[in-house]
C-alpha cells in the first residue's frame, strides 16, 4: 500500500509540475491544484498510513492515527481553495485587461 501511495503522490506531483510550466493561466491553475493534492497527501503520509483508527476518542479503541498532520491538512485544503479562487480571479482579470491569458502577460501567437 505504501508503494501505491508513493506512486500516486509522485504522479500527482509530476502532473502538477508539468502543467505549472505551461504558458497559459488555466493549465497553470490546474497544475497548482495538482500540486496541492500532492502536498496534502504528502502531509497526511507523514503520519504514516493507518487503516481504521481515526483520531476520534472512543471507548474500547486502543490506537489512533496521528491527528497532527490531519489538522494541518484540513486547514491547508480550505486555504488552498481560497488561493485557487484568488489565482483564478486574477487570471480572469488579466485576461480582461491584457486581452490574452498568457502567464507572462505577453501575447505570443
Amino acid at each position: 500500500m505504501e508503494a501505491l501511495i508513493s506512486l500516486i503522490i509522485g504522479v500527482l506531483t509530476a502532473c502538477g509540475v508539468y502543467l505549472s510550466l505551461r504558458g497559459r493561466t488555466f493549465p497553470v491553475v490546474l497544475g497548482l491544484t495538482f500540486l496541492s493534492y500532492a502536498a496534502n497527501l504528502f502531509l497526511l503520509a507523514m503520519g504514516r498510513l493507518v487503516i481504521g483508527a481515526p483520531p476520534i476518542m472512543a471507548d474500547g479503541m486502543t490506537g489512533y492515527t496521528d491527528p497532527l498532520p490531519q489538522a494541518l491538512v484540513l486547514t491547508a485544503i480550505v486555504i488552498s481553495f481560497a488561493m485557487t479562487a484568488f489565482v483564478v480571479v486574477l487570471a480572469l482579470k488579466t485576461y480582461k485587461e491584457l486581452g490574452n491569458d498568457h502567464v507572462d502577460g505577453i501575447h505570443k501567437p
Binding site: 500527482l12 502538477g16 508539468y18 505549472s20 510550466l21 492515527t65 486547514t75 486574477l90 482579470k93
Partner: protein
C-alpha cells in the same frame, strides 16, 4: 505622577484631535491645547523632587526576556526638555490656530503635531536607550508627516522625504551605536550607562560605537555635512518649522549629546569629532544664512549655525562648556521659536517671505516689528537679551585651549561666526522693517489678529527677562539640567551681564562691530540683495548618491530577475530537484527503503489508485481541451477524498469532498469566460524538457514519500490524544487541535481566507466580461436558464442541506465535522440556489451582506480567544461544561464551539462572496443589473 501617562497622553489625544475636527474647525486646536496643558500639569508634582536633586525612575515590565523594560526617567535635563517641548508646543498650538487657513485640515495638523510631541517627550523621558531609540524613530516619522503636511506641494513632499531619509539613516546608525553601548555596559538603562563612563571609554568598541551614535545625533541636529535636510524642511507650514527647528526635532540630536555626555565625553576622539563638526557647522551655517533671501531660509541656516555652536560646546567638553551648551539650548529655543512665528506672521500678512520684496514693514506692522527686532537682537547676542549671556559664555569657553598650537583657531572661528550672526540678524531687521518702501507685495500688509501675536510676545518677554535677570529666572532650572548633564555638581558660575573687560567681552565687541560693518559693507559693495542666493548644496551630492544607488539596484534586479514566469518556475523547480537529489546522494543514509512493516494492497484500493492516476495523466494529456481536463481533475480530487477516508482521516475526506465541489464549480464559472482551448505553443523540445523535469520531480517526491513511509517515527501526537478530552472537552482530536490547542493558527488561517475573499471582491469590482454565446462545439446555450425541475428540487433540498450543515457543525467537537466542513456544505447548498434560480431571485430572498458575515465570524473567533483572558487564562483557552437539557438529555457546551461558529461564518461568507461575485461578472447576466452587486 506617572511619566508613562505623560508620554502617552499626546498619542492618545492625536486620534481624538483628528476625529473631533469634523464637528468644528477649531475643536482640534482646543483638544491639542488641552492635552499639552494637562501634560504640563501632570509634570508639576515631579518638579519638586527633581529640583531637590532626585532622579525619578519608573518602570514597567515590557519584554523581560530581552532585558527590555518600559522605563522612564525624569531628571533635570529631561525636565528642562519636557518643559520646552510642552511649553513651546502649547504656544505653537495657539499660534497655528490662527496661521492655518480655511482650506487646511485642522484635525490632521493637530493630530500630527500631538504625535510628534509624544515622540519627543518619549525621547527626553526615556530611561532605556532602546526605548529612546523607538521614540527617536517616531519623531522622524511624525516629522515626515508634519513637513509634508501640504501634500499637494512638490517641495513639501520632497523636503519631507529628504528629512526622513537623512534622519532615518542616522537612526539606523544610532541603533547600531546603542546596541554596542548595551554590549559594552551590559545594560540598556541610562542609570547604568551614565555610571560606567570609564569602562565605556576604555573599551575596544568605543570608537565604532561613538561614531555610530554621533552619526545619529549629527543627522538629527543637522550638523555639517548632513545639514541640508533642514533648509528643505522649510517647506513645512511655519508653525511646524517653529516647533521642529527651535525646541524639538533638531534639539533631539544635541539632547543625545547632553544625555550621554558623562558616558562618552572626555576623550580625544570625542573632542575632535564633536568640536570640529560643531565649528564647521557653526561657520557654514552663519555664512550661508547671510545670503538667503527667503526669511525662513535665513532662519534655517541660522538654526544650523546655532546647533553647531551647541555641538561645539559639548565637544569642548569642560564642565563650564556643558553649562553654556544647556543655557544656549534654552535661549535658542526661545528666540528661534519667536522668530519663526514672526516670520509666519509676516508671510501671512504680506504673502511673501522674499527679502528682495519685503522692505519698510515698520510703518505697516510696528507691533510685530518691535517683537521681531527684540528676538533678532537676542539671536545676534545683543546685551540685555538672553542670547548675549550664553554667547559670551561660549566665547569664553572657546579660549580654554588657546595655549595649544592652533588653539587660536577656535576663538577666531567663533568670533567670525559671531560677526556673521550679527550680520544676518541685522539683515533680518534692517531689510524687512526699514530700507525703503516694500516692492510689489501680494497683499497689503497689516497687523495680524491679536491672539496670533500672544505666543510671540510671551517668548520675547522671556528673552528680555532671562537676559536681564538671569539669576532669578533661568538659574534654577539651568543648574539642575546642567547637573544631570555633567552627572556631578555644577561648577561655580556667574550669570551676570557684566564680567569686566574679559577676552570674551572683546570678542563680543568685535562680533558686534564686525557684523554691522559686514552687513552694510556687503549690501553696499557685494549687492547682497541681488546675489542669486544659491550655494553649492550637499543636496546635489545626496541626489547623485541616491541615483547611483538606484542604478546599482537596477543592475542587480536585471541580473537576477527573469522576465518570464515560465522560466522562473522552471529554474525554481530544477533547483529544488537538484538540491534534493544532491542531499540524498551525498547524505550518509543513502538507503531508500526503511524497515517498517508495510500494509498489503487490496483490490479496491488498487482499482481506485489506477483510476486516479489514469485521470491525472489524462488531465495532462488532454489539457488543451480545458473543459475535459476540468472533469478529469475532478475525478482526481474525489480520489484524494477516498484516500483520506481510507487512511483514518474522516474529517479530511469530508473537507476534501466539499472543497472539490466548490472548486470545480468555481473553475467552471471562470472557464465560461476564458478561451475553451489552450493553443499548442511550446516546441517539442521544450515539452520534452518540461516532461523530463516533471518526471524527475515526481520521482523525487515519490521516493521521498516511500523513504518516509517505510521508516518508523516518533510523534508528539500523544500529548494531543491524551489531553483532548480532559482539557479540550472534545473527542474529535483533529477538531480539538484546530479550535483549541492550535486555535491561534486557525484564527490566522481564517484571517488569510477572509483577506483572500476581500481581495477577490476588489479584483472583481467593475469587472465585466462577455461570455461566449456558443459552446465549444458551436451549439448555442440553452434558452431555459433555470430549469424547473432543478429549481424546484433545490428549494426542497435547501432546508435539508442546512440541517446537515448544522448537524455537522454541532457534532464537530466529538465526531467528524466542524466549522470548516459545515461552512462548505452550507456554501454549496446556497450556491446551488444561485445556480438554479439566478442571482437576482436568490438575492432578494437572501439579502445578507457577506462582508458583515465574514467580519462577524472573525470577531466571534477572536472574541472567544479574548474571553479566556477575562478568566485569567492564555488566549483561546477552551472552557467546557455539560448541560442537562430537558428532553434532549446531556449536552456538552464548549467555548470552542463559539470559535468553530466563527470559522463556519468566515468559510460561508468567503465562499459565497467569491462565487456570487464571480457569477455576476457576466455583463449580460439575466435578472441582475450591473449596479446590483452583492456586497
Amino acid at each position: 505622577m506617572n511619566l508613562l501617562f505623560i508620554v502617552l497622553m499626546p498619542f492618545i489625544g492625536a486620534p481624538f484631535a483628528a476625529a473631533i475636527s469634523r464637528f468644528g474647525r477649531l475643536h482640534a486646536a482646543w483638544m491639542a491645547g488641552a492635552v499639552a496643558l494637562f501634560a504640563i500639569i501632570l509634570l508639576i508634582p515631579g518638579l519638586i523632587d527633581v529640583f531637590a536633586g532626585q532622579v525619578l525612575i519608573q518602570r514597567l515590565s515590557w519584554i523581560p526576556t530581552a532585558g527590555l523594560d518600559l522605563a522612564f526617567r525624569l531628571d533635570g535635563l529631561g525636565l528642562l526638555f519636557a518643559l520646552l517641548i510642552l511649553g513651546i508646543g502649547l504656544l505653537i498650538i495657539l499660534y497655528a490656530r490662527y496661521y492655518l487657513s480655511a482650506q487646511d485640515d485642522m484635525g490632521r495638523f493637530y493630530a500630527y503635531l500631538l504625535l510628534f510631541m509624544g515622540a519627543m517627550l518619549g525621547i527626553v523621558l526615556s530611561e532605556n536607550i532602546i526605548q529612546l531609540l523607538i521614540f527617536w524613530e517616531l519623531t522622524s516619522l511624525s516629522s515626515f508627516l508634519l513637513i509634508s503636511y501640504w501634500q499637494h506641494r512638490h517641495e513639501s513632499r520632497s523636503g519631507a522625504r529628504l528629512a526622513l531619509t537623512i534622519t532615518g539613516a542616522g537612526g539606523l546608525a544610532l541603533l547600531g551605536g546603542c546596541l554596542l553601548l548595551g554590549e559594552i555596559t551590559g545594560s540598556y538603562e541610562l542609570s547604568v550607562i551614565l555610571e560606567s563612563g570609564d569602562i565605556i571609554r576604555a573599551h575596544p568598541f568605543y570608537q565604532p560605537m561613538l561614531i555610530l551614535i554621533l552619526l545619529g545625533a549629527f543627522t538629527k541636529s543637522a550638523q555639517f555635512p548632513f545639514h541640508f535636510w533642514l533648509p528643505n524642511a522649510m517647506a513645512a507650514p511655519t508653525p511646524v518649522s517653529a516647533y521642529l527647528h527651535s525646541a524639538t526635532m533638531v534639539k533631539a540630536g544635541v539632547f543625545l549629546l547632553a544625555r550621554l555626555f558623562p558616558a562618552l565625553s572626555g576623550t580625544v576622539e570625542w573632542f575632535w569629532l564633536v568640536s570640529v563638526t560643531g565649528l564647521i557647522t557653526l561657520l557654514v551655517g552663519a555664512y550661508i544664512a547671510l545670503w538667503k533671501h527667503d526669511l525662513k531660509g535665513l532662519l534655517a541656516y541660522s538654526t544650523i549655525s546655532h546647533l553647531g555652536l551647541i555641538t561645539l560646546l559639548f565637544g569642548i567638553g569642560t564642565p563650564m562648556a556643558a553649562v553654556a551648551a544647556v543655557f544656549h539650548i534654552i535661549n535658542h529655543a526661545i528666540f528661534k521659536a519667536s522668530l519663526f512665528m514672526a516670520t509666519g506672521i509676516i508671510d501671512h500678512e504680506t504673502g511673501t517671505r522674499d527679502m528682495r520684496r519685503l522692505r519698510g514693514l515698520w510703518r505697516f506692522m510696528p507691533h510685530t516689528a518691535l517683537l521681531t527686532i527684540v528676538a533678532a537682537a537676542a539671536m545676534a547676542g545683543v546685551p540685555l537679551l538672553n542670547g548675549f549671556l550664553s554667547k559670551e559664555m561660549f566665547f569664553a569657553e572657546t579660549l580654554h585651549a588657546i595655549d595649544q598650537s592652533w588653539g587660536w583657531l577656535m576663538p577666531a572661528g567663533a568670533t567670525l561666526a559671531g560677526i556673521f550672526a550679527v550680520a544676518y540678524s541685522l539683515r533680518f531687521i534692517h531689510n524687512v522693517f526699514f530700507d525703503g518702501p516694500p516692492v510689489d507685495l501680494p497683499k497689503k500688509p497689516h497687523e495680524p489678529p491679536r491672539w496670533m501675536k500672544i505666543p510671540v510676545e510671551i517668548l520675547v518677554v522671556l528673552c528680555l527677562v532671562v537676559g536681564m535677570l538671569p539669576a532669578l529666572t533661568v538659574e534654577p532650572i539651568l543648574t539642575i539640567a546642567a547637573a544631570s548633564v555633567l552627572h556631578e555638581p555644577v561648577p561655580e558660575h556667574d550669570l551676570a551681564i557684566w564680567h569686566g573687560f574679559s577676552p570674551a567681552f572683546w570678542m563680543s565687541v568685535i562680533a558686534m562691530l564686525g557684523g554691522v560693518l559686514v552687513y552694510f559693507g556687503f549690501s553696499t559693495f557685494l549687492s547682497l540683495r541681488t546675489h542669486a542666493g544659491d550655494w553649492p548644496e550637499m543636496r546635489a551630492v545626496y541626489h547623485r548618491l541616491l541615483e547611483g544607488l538606484f542604478l546599482v539596484c537596477q543592475f542587480f534586479t536585471r541580473l537576477l530577475h527573469i522576465d518570464s514566469l515560465q522560466r522562473m518556475v522552471f529554474v525554481f523547480i530544477l533547483f529544488a530537484v537538484l538540491l534534493g537529489a544532491a542531499n540524498f546522494l551525498t547524505g550518509e543514509a543513502a538507503v531508500l527503503t526503511g524497515d517498517r512493516e508495510l500494509l498489503t494492497i487490496d483490490g479496491v484500493s488498487l482499482i481506485i489508485a489506477l483510476i486516479m492516476m489514469a485521470a491525472a495523466m489524462s488531465t495532462v494529456l488532454l489539457h488543451q481541451q480545458r473543459f475535459v481536463s476540468l472533469i478529469m481533475i475532478g475525478t482526481v480530487g474525489l480520489g484524494v477524498a477516498l484516500i483520506f477516508a481510507k487512511f483514518s482521516a474522516p474529517d479530511l475526506a469530508l473537507t476534501q469532498l466539499s472543497v472539490e465541489v466548490v472548486t470545480i464549480m468555481l473553475m467552471l464559472l471562470a472557464l465560461y469566460f476564458l478561451p475553451q482551448y489552450t493553443p499548442v505553443e511550446s516546441k517539442p523540445f521544450r515539452r520534452s524538457r518540461d516532461l523530463l523535469l516533471a518526471v524527475l520531480a515526481g520521482g523525487g517526491v515519490a521516493s521521498l514519500v516511500w523513504a518516509v513511509l517505510t521508516r518508523p517515527y516518533e510523534t508528539i501526537a500523544d500529548y494531543f490524544i491524551t489531553h483532548s478530552v480532559p482539557e479540550g472537552g472534545g473527542r474529535n482530536v483533529v477538531n480539538v487541535i484546530l479550535v483549541d490547542f492550535r486555535g491561534y493558527d486557525t484564527l490566522g488561517e481564517i484571517t488569510v481566507m477572509a483577506l483572500a475573499g476581500l481581495g477577490i471582491y476588489a479584483m472583481l469590482e467593475h469587472l465585466q466580461l462577455k461570455g461566449p454565446s456558443h459552446d465549444s462545439l458551436k451549439r448555442p446555450w440553452d434558452e431555459d436558464k433555470h430549469p424547473l425541475i432543478m429549481a424546484s428540487l433545490t428549494r426542497v433540498l435547501l432546508p435539508l442541506a442546512l440541517l446537515v450543515a448544522v448537524f455537522i457543525l454541532l457534532r464537530g467537537h466529538n465526531l467528524p465535522g466542524g466549522g470548516f466542513i459545515a461552512g462548505l456544505i452550507t456554501a454549496v447548498a446556497l450556491i446551488t440556489q444561485y445556480l438554479a434560480n439566478g442571482i437576482g431571485w436568490t438575492q432578494t430572498r437572501l439579502p445578507i451582506n457577506m462582508h458583515i458575515v465574514i467580519a462577524i465570524g472573525l470577531l466571534l473567533a477572536a472574541m472567544t480567544g479574548v474571553a479566556s483572558w477575562l478568566f485569567g487564562y492564555p488566549f483561546l483557552t477552551s472552557a467546557f461544561g455539560h448541560l442537562d437539557w430537558p428532553l434532549v438529555g446531556e449536552f456538552e457546551l464548549a467555548s470552542a464551539m463559539a470559535f468553530d461558529l466563527g470559522v463556519y461564518l468566515v468559510v460561508v461568507g468567503v465562499t459565497l462572496l467569491i462565487m456570487v461575485n464571480l457569477g455576476m461578472v457576466h455583463s449580460e447576466s439575466h435578472f441582475v443589473k450591473s449596479d446590483h452587486k452583492i456586497r
